[in-house]
Amino acid sequence: MTSIPGNGGRNGESEPATRTDIRVTLIIIAVALALWLETTTFESVPTLLAQNIPPEFFPRLVLATIVVLALVLPFEPLILKRHGGAKRKTAPLPAMTWMTAALLAAVAAATAWVGTLASMVLACLLLPALWGERRAMRVIPFALLFPGAVALVFSGLLKVPFEPGLLAPLLGVN
């Protein structure tokens, strides 16, 4: 059946799903335990103020539910009697995905310094380049005109606030 985008399609064919599932289960339990520990640091309040429902009660209930569900995860194929899907593997991530994530983070970080408009230009210049777009005569006009049009519509017409950036005073921009 076609993998449905946004619903967790998994591809590949070489590793038993149970091993991956056990790994996922262990990670979930580790994170849940860490968050449970965090709930122990919540400020304690008098029972009367908490009305018998202390602030850590509900998060702990949810964490416990997550742990129970995670423990079921490796046994899910057995419970659902799915034999066909027993061998599935998550394909390794290509370097491009890591680089894309790093670039997006770098652009977001740069926004504090150079402001929203300049960071949009950066994104429209660097992301196509990273993804292999080599037609400079298309990339450069796109990187200048598209953010410019977006700024005109959103900042100019719709009055959506744009981050001026820390360098704005130095550049004489308000």
Binding site: G6, N7, T20, V45, L49, Q51, A108, C124, F146, P161
Partner: protein, 498 residues
């Protein structure tokens, strides 16, 4: 009758009609573009609707929802790449029809079946919403708690390969919703010393991250995918013979789609797949399925669009989203100061009818736009991803930042995007997480109120027959994925064609 007329008059204002048209255009475009989806478009538009009045804002989003569901069928038929998940089943027979030179016939049928399904569900919406709201007026916190738990349990049955993963993703969403100051005691929870987290995690950046950024990262893996395009398309309205062949299928799928839409958490994708299966099961020409059966296009298209109207019923009448997109519309309602539920229906019925009117107008608009512009919309897929996705990133950044004018929200969006991508890679979809995020606050609030009412005695939940019914349904919902294959084995096998 007054509130209905009042609501329709609100929609008929030129500004509102223009925004509905804009919503339809955006919806068809994002629906047609593989990777972009109506939840993503609604998430991106959310922060910009804050400046609008509630009626035009919600009307535009509702119109986008209807049109986005239809838009996916264009690329499903023409390039075998469903623009949106609800169109997955449409490709099973739509693309084989296109390859046989019947793309126009398939597109015409998809548009007409979508409109019939959509209008049918809107009539049900018109009748069922006030009735359901009337019933819900008698609900107290324990009943609401049980209802919300039931809605979360339905995540086990939403599409996706792993019910347990869906439930975990839903629980993670609920957990994220607990961050910030606890309303009863004022205690900070999961703030990790970050002052911005004291207000909790804002919905909008998380939604944009989950739907737009995680998809952008997914796209970075498929930059070299090329689609085979069917170029010569002359759209044809279904002939009388076609209609005779599919009228039963459309009616059946409209009923199925509306019913599935009304079920909490279930959306258009599930409706479309069941609509396809039922079309095949009842067909006299089962052998044609997978090779270009016109019923294989009509069935899922009527069902997935019928689910849109159905999904609005629990969203507005109970405050329980019927699908991931209606979860976002629910977030928009909350942003505009509404509390979706029976009191919204009782106190501002004209608002509910305005949404009905907007969706009705949207259905007829996308019929015209879809029929006239399918060829143009199919060309949208020729926009290189190297330009499309940077543009999505730009909109995401502005959307996340403008919501509260804080760069922290841009980081939240990125974190949600990367987290959503990693989770999606391991089978934890964004839709259940969003449902958990939206329902989490209600679950905790109603649980706390119930426990105070019951003086901490859990057993008193079972004093209410409505609570018991919801708890039984919850157990059935959780067990259904394990039980369903056993039922299917006894029934006629009806798997969709590959």
């Amino acid at each position: 009758m007054d509130p209905i007329l009042h609501g329709l008059m609100l929609v008929a204002q030129p500004v509102n009609l223009a925004l509905i048209l804009a919503g339809v255009l955006v919806g068809v475009v994002v629906g047609a573009l593989p990777g972009l989806s109506s939840p993503m478009a609604v998430a991106l538009l959310l922060p910009f609707t804050v400046t609008l009045d509630p009626v035009p804002a919600i009307s535009m989003l509702a119109a986008l929802y209807c049109a986005g569901t239809f838009g996916g069928s264009i690329t499903a038929i023409l390039i075998n790449a469903p623009g949106a998940p609800p169109a997955v089943a449409t490709a099973f027979d739509g693309y084989p029809m296109a390859k046989k030179g019947e793309a126009g016939r398939a597109l015409g049928m998809a548009a007409v079946a979508s409109v019939i399904g959509g209008v049918f569900s809107l009539l049900v919406f018109l009748l069922a919403t006030p009735w359901l709201a009337e019933v819900a007026l008698s609900f107290r916190p324990p009943e609401y708690f049980a209802l919300a738990v039931f809605a979360l349990s339905m995540l086990a049955t939403v599409s996706g390969r792993s019910p347990v993963r869906n439930l975990i993703a839903g629980a993670v969403g609920v957990l994220i919703g607990t961050a910030g100051i606890h309303l009863t005691t004022g205690v900070q929870r999961f703030t990790f010393g970050v002052p911005e987290l004291a207000d909790g995690v804002h919905f909008v950046p998380v939604l944009i991250g989950l739907f737009a950024m995680s998809e952008l990262l997914s796209q970075s893996r498929t930059l070299n995918v090329l689609y085979e395009r069917i170029t010569s398309v002359v759209i044809r309205l279904p002939s009388r013979d076609d209609f005779r062949k599919v009228r039963g299928t459309i009616l059946r799928s409209s009923v199925i789609g509306t019913f599935i839409g009304i079920l909490p958490a279930e959306g258009s994708t599930v409706a479309a797949i069941i609509g396809y299966n039922e079309a095949k099961r009842w067909s006299k020409h089962k052998g044609e399925f997978g090779h270009g059966a016109i019923e294989g296009v009509a069935g899922p298209e009527a069902a997935n669009n019928a689910a849109t109207g159905g999904a609005m019923v629990p969203t507005l009448a109970l405050g329980i989203p019927g699908s991931s997109t209606t979860a976002l519309i629910l977030a928009a309602l909350i942003m505009h100061g509404f509390r979706p539920g029976p009191y919204l229906v009782q106190q501002t019925p004209e608002f509910i009818y305005a949404i009905f009117g907007a969706m009705l107008v949207a259905n007829f608009l996308f019929l015209g736009i879809g029929l006239a512009g399918a060829k143009v919309f199919s060309r949208i897929t020729m926009i290189p991803p190297t330009f499309l996705w940077p543009a999505v990133f730009v909109f995401s950044m502005i959307g996340a930042y403008s919501f509260s004018g804080s760069l922290f929200d841009v980081w939240v969006m990125l974190a949600a995007g990367i987290g959503g991508f990693v989770m999606n890679r391991h089978g934890f979809g964004p839709a259940p997480l969003v449902m958990g995020l939206i329902l989490g606050a209600m679950v905790e609030e109603r649980l706390s109120q119930s426990m105070i009412m019951f003086d901490n005695d859990w057993l008193r939940f079972f004093d209410s027959p409505i609570v018991v019914v919801f708890f039984v349904l919850t157990v059935v919902g959780l067990a259904w994925p394990a039980l369903a294959p056993r039922f299917r084995r006894r029934d006629t096998p009806s798997e969709p064609a590959p």
